[in-house]
Symmetry: D2
Subunit: 127 residues, 4 copies
């Protein structure tokens, strides 16, 4: 029995989140609830559901589906997530969330950090 | 230059979080801020800092260091995280956070889920 | 253009392998080619192909499809991987590889290690 | 007792390997033993040992320490791994392996794939 639990744990798998998300979300203007909603979307997508509803998302969270819908709208408007269209093999149109805009913003953060540390380095060398 | 950014991304690494944490934290009585604080502790530990201060934690979050300290206290009291003592190779005592209690609670959640689905299965078979 | 490559990298994702596999496969009687074949199966499964053919596997490897088939047969016979039957939602039968036997063997390794270190501890305390 | 094993499993952690390594190593001229040696180096580094010896590496593998040393030399010569120098906080020089050259080669593979699929796309549109 115990071994079944362990296999269940292993088979459930993990959600792998870039470390820099944890150190940079505040700087990008996001709060803890925003990030957890994004991670819920990401977790649903990893399990094959690429367009979870506000109801599905809120079932895992302490906020209502109305609040989920409202935060999702804000995240789309502010360019953190986007909605893409896809085609199934049977040529049926469907919508899905994309986190590409978020990854691109994080890359910009990394680039900015790098520039700043180079600037500090060079002003240090000048003195 | 762009390639440096990519290497930085790769070398920053990821924080790997069990999927079941996302589906079960609400049921365990935790909210989004609690979970993000736990993930910040986990992320610091992955980088080698096993006992981050409330100040370090709040520098990445939208809550104050006072709020961090107060939530940490609550999480320890409610048995989600514990404080363990360790010895360095030079025999100096140090404290560190342990997330073992959280993983054990998640295992209990998995076990409970399993029992319930078996109960439903058998009551279904009886009818 | 460069940013596209970066997004492709991120979206390709990672294969997450338990660290103890790397420290224990030799002890379990497996060699480097066996393990790489298992990791190829695991990688195909993560992308949604749960029963890759020897041809698909060998297309990524330096061994022939015949050698892949022969090693797969050996791994099934020795109880490292199993073949399970599944049902699609349209009730069509299909076969898939399962790595559960491997995970269970690794758990036994961990348990064995623990016992040995406890035995050493207690014989140390007796002297 | 069983729960201890589970915690040990969780705390051992995982080695996260970019999926594209599995689909591209053959094309880059590497075989299964080469890749497993690289993954062993990576796994040691994740545990804090940034310059494992051939003896340490071969203790986990089915090849001798002499063979490990010889493959490592080949991988450095062919530009898959490099040896970098570092300074400890006490200003002591040390050497460590770097996998940056490998990640850069994988990025080139991704870029090449992209170009080819675009060329096929455009020759398809011309006909």
């Amino acid at each position: 029995m115990e071994k079944d639990i362990l296999l269940a744990w292993i088979e459930e798998g993990t959600v792998n989140i870039p470390s820099i998300l944890f150190t940079n979300y505040k700087r990008m203007g996001l709060n803890e609830t925003d990030i957890m909603l994004i991670l819920q979307v990401y977790s649903f997508q990893n399990k094959g559901n690429s367009f979870p509803t506000p109801e599905e998302l809120s079932s895992n969270m302490t906020i209502t589906s109305g609040e989920c819908a409202s935060i999702l709208r804000k995240l789309v408007q502010q360019g953190f997530i986007s909605i893409e269209e896809g085609n199934t093999t049977e040529d049926i149109l469907f919508e899905k969330y994309s986190l590409k805009p978020l990854w691109l913003k994080l890359l910009d953060c990394l680039q900015e950090e790098k520039k700043q540390s180079q600037r500090q380095q060079s002003s240090f060398n000048e003195n």
